[in-house]
């Protein structure tokens, strides 16, 4: 840490982990409901649990990205954040809006559009909040001494993510159009602009952790985000196969979405390559684990498991089944949850001044959460493939099929428990670091020279 104002990131990370913890609780409710135990139906009907689970996910990831930006931008542009106070206000109000939305979901107050359930009046508050965030980041960048490629790519991702929130706020009478523009948010976020955010954070981490020359890393960053948009924008077509638009999307969506894994492959090769090339090894070993981990797991979860059902011929059968949930979990975990975890692991010692670089707890958190999540993905996958076969190919009735696959949710819940233990260990580690500390300023640099 070089600048005082970077400390604000700590509170964003703390908030992110808190929301993640609550997210998991609702995941278990759904896991049990799928197993046949829906005893909490009156308090948490499935649609409430689901909206809370996915909205908390998106919220904590965004809070994690914001925290990372508040840490990265001062360091990259060599300038304190223009207003730390406003950053705190921005965090608190973001949380307030999010919590209000989530509470509303328990009282049938929402806008039932998958992932975009936040009701319209609260949407506007989100917009104001995000504008405040971007205001702080952009003025800091503008005042700063340097504008590096890493910071520009990160900021570009954040600005585009904010802009793309808007198509999700338009009302359509026609369900087909509703779906069409919902994907401008959901798809163009996770397979477009969020990859810029991820790429920016990854580049920053690799510069710090491997000591490879910035010019080399940033050149590859351009290649990666170039591949992302080249494939991802037209790849949106893979959601337009069966919603009431024409066949041209089968060709365009099929071809371009098949190319999407290239960006994730490039990211994995890039991270591993830079690690091999780097001579100066940073002592923060856990951060390196998470960083290489996210690059590899995102390729598996988003790239390979996305590719598995992205051709129209396959998607006809898997569309809207548990196969999608399988991919959704490993993709979100590998790409976005893990990049946030990487950043937290990297930044925490620098913010607090405590060097828990390689602890047993930290190792356990990494392995339990990752093995648990891979296992959960397999459980969803087996359930999904069985569902596709029984329901879509043999033509059994939905409910009958669900009864057949209940057992896989038992396995899911077991592995989710393992995953959750990993997350809890991560949170315990987080707490062990203690609070941000001004004495930590400049410490990392001194240490790296030694």
């Amino acid at each position: 840490m070089k600048y005082k104002s970077q400390k604000v990131a700590y509170w964003f990370f703390a908030a992110a982990l808190l929301l993640l913890f609550i997210q998991l609780f609702y995941g278990f409710i759904m896991g049990f409901a799928h197993m046949g135990y829906d005893g909490w139906h009156n308090v948490f009907p499935f649609n409430t649990a689901r909206a809370v689970h996915t909205n908390l996910l998106v919220m904590w990831l965004l809070i994690g990205f914001m925290g990372a930006a508040y840490y990265i931008i001062p360091e990259e542009s060599q300038q304190e954040l223009v207003s730390v106070k406003l950053a705190y206000i921005q965090l608190i109000t973001f949380l307030a809006v999010g919590v209000a939305a989530v509470i509303g979901y328990h009282f049938n107050y929402w806008e039932g559009r998958k992932f975009l359930e936040i009701p319209r009046p609260l949407d506007w508050l989100v917009v104001v909040n995000v504008l405040t965030f971007l205001g702080i980041i952009l003025t800091t960048l503008y005042k700063g001494k340097k504008r590096t490629t890493t910071s520009l790519v990160l900021v570009m991702g954040l600005v585009f993510a904010a802009l793309l929130y808007l198509p999700g706020m338009i009302w359509f009478d026609n369900q087909t159009l509703d779906s069409f523009f919902r994907w401008w948010v959901v798809h163009l976020w996770v397979e477009g602009v969020w990859e810029l955010i991820m790429g920016g954070i990854l580049a920053f981490l690799l510069i710090k952790l491997t000591g490879v020359d910035r010019e080399v890393i940033e050149k590859w960053l351009y290649v990666i985000v170039g591949l992302t948009f080249l494939s991802g924008i037209l790849g949106t077509g893979h959601h337009y196969y069966y919603i009431g638009v024409g066949k041209i999307w089968h060709i365009v969506g099929g071809i371009f979405s098949m190319l999407e894994p290239l960006a994730f492959l490039a990211m994995a090769l890039f991270a591993v390559g830079m690690y091999r090339k780097g001579e100066k090894k940073h002592p923060n070993k856990m951060a390196l684990y998470w960083t290489l981990g996210t690059a590899i797991m995102s390729f598996i979860g988003a790239g390979l498991l996305g590719m598995a059902h992205t051709l129209p011929q396959t998607n006809l059968y898997t569309h809207g089944t548990l196969v999608t949930a399988m991919h959704g979990h490993l993709a979100f975990w590998g790409a976005y949850a893990m990049i946030v975890f990487s950043f937290i692991t990297f930044a925490l010692p620098n913010i607090t001044g405590r060097k828990l670089y390689d602890t047993v707890n930290g190792q356990l958190a990494f392995w339990l959460s990752n093995i648990g999540m891979v296992g959960m993905t397999m459980a969803f996958g087996v359930a999904g493939v069985a569902q596709v076969y029984l329901e879509r190919i043999l033509g059994l009735e939905f409910g009958a099929v669900q009864k057949e696959i209940e057992i896989h949710f038992f396995v899911l819940v077991l592995l989710a428990t393992m995953f959750s233990v990993g997350i809890i260990m991560f949170i315990i580690e987080f707490l062990k670091y203690g609070k941000p500390n001004d004495e930590a300023i400049g410490m990392e640099e001194i240490q790296l020279k030694a």
């Binding site: 409901a33 049938n108 779906s179 050149k219 037209l234 196969y241 879509r392 043999l394």
Partner: protein, 141 residues
């Protein structure tokens, strides 16, 4: 070897070109495909009221429609054809949770009018041309 400025050109150029094509295809879909495939002339006020109810109650939080939503309850794109009006209205109007196989649906207890609006919505949804979705199962004996 590729230089940094070449890499940047690749990024900006690729983005610009694919985005332009994307906008063109979007325009084409909105103008030439959607009106016909979704029978916009049948998009009556009742259908729109039905869609509003669909959203206000987050039905998509359990069901899928056009294959989008949650995986807890049946696909409803073709429910009008599969179950018919009377069955659909029964599930919507009952005061005790509908639970044909033990898995409960929220008991909305909708009025007859609201239930009719939702039926109209499903009828419209049923007729949208989804070019082949949901797939026809292979009958095995």
């Amino acid at each position: 070897m590729l230089s940094k400025s070449q890499a940047r050109t690749f990024f900006l150029g690729g983005t610009f070109i694919t985005f332009a094509i994307f906008l063109g295809l979007t325009w084409n879909s909105l103008v030439n495909e959607v009106p016909e495939q979704t029978n916009v002339h049948n998009l009556t006020e009742a259908v729109v009221r039905g869609k509003t109810l669909w959203e206000e109650n987050n039905c998509m939080g359990c069901h899928t429609i056009f294959g989008e939503g949650a995986y807890y309850a049946p696909e409803l794109t073709k429910v009008y054809e599969r179950r018919g009006e009377a069955y659909i209205k029964a599930t919507l109007m009952t005061d005790i949770p509908w639970a044909p196989r033990g898995r409960k649906m929220v008991a909305y207890g909708f009025s007859e009018d609201k239930a009719n609006d939702l039926v109209e919505f499903f009828k419209w949804v049923n007729e949208v041309d989804l070019i082949g979705f949901p797939p026809k199962p292979k009958k095995v004996q």
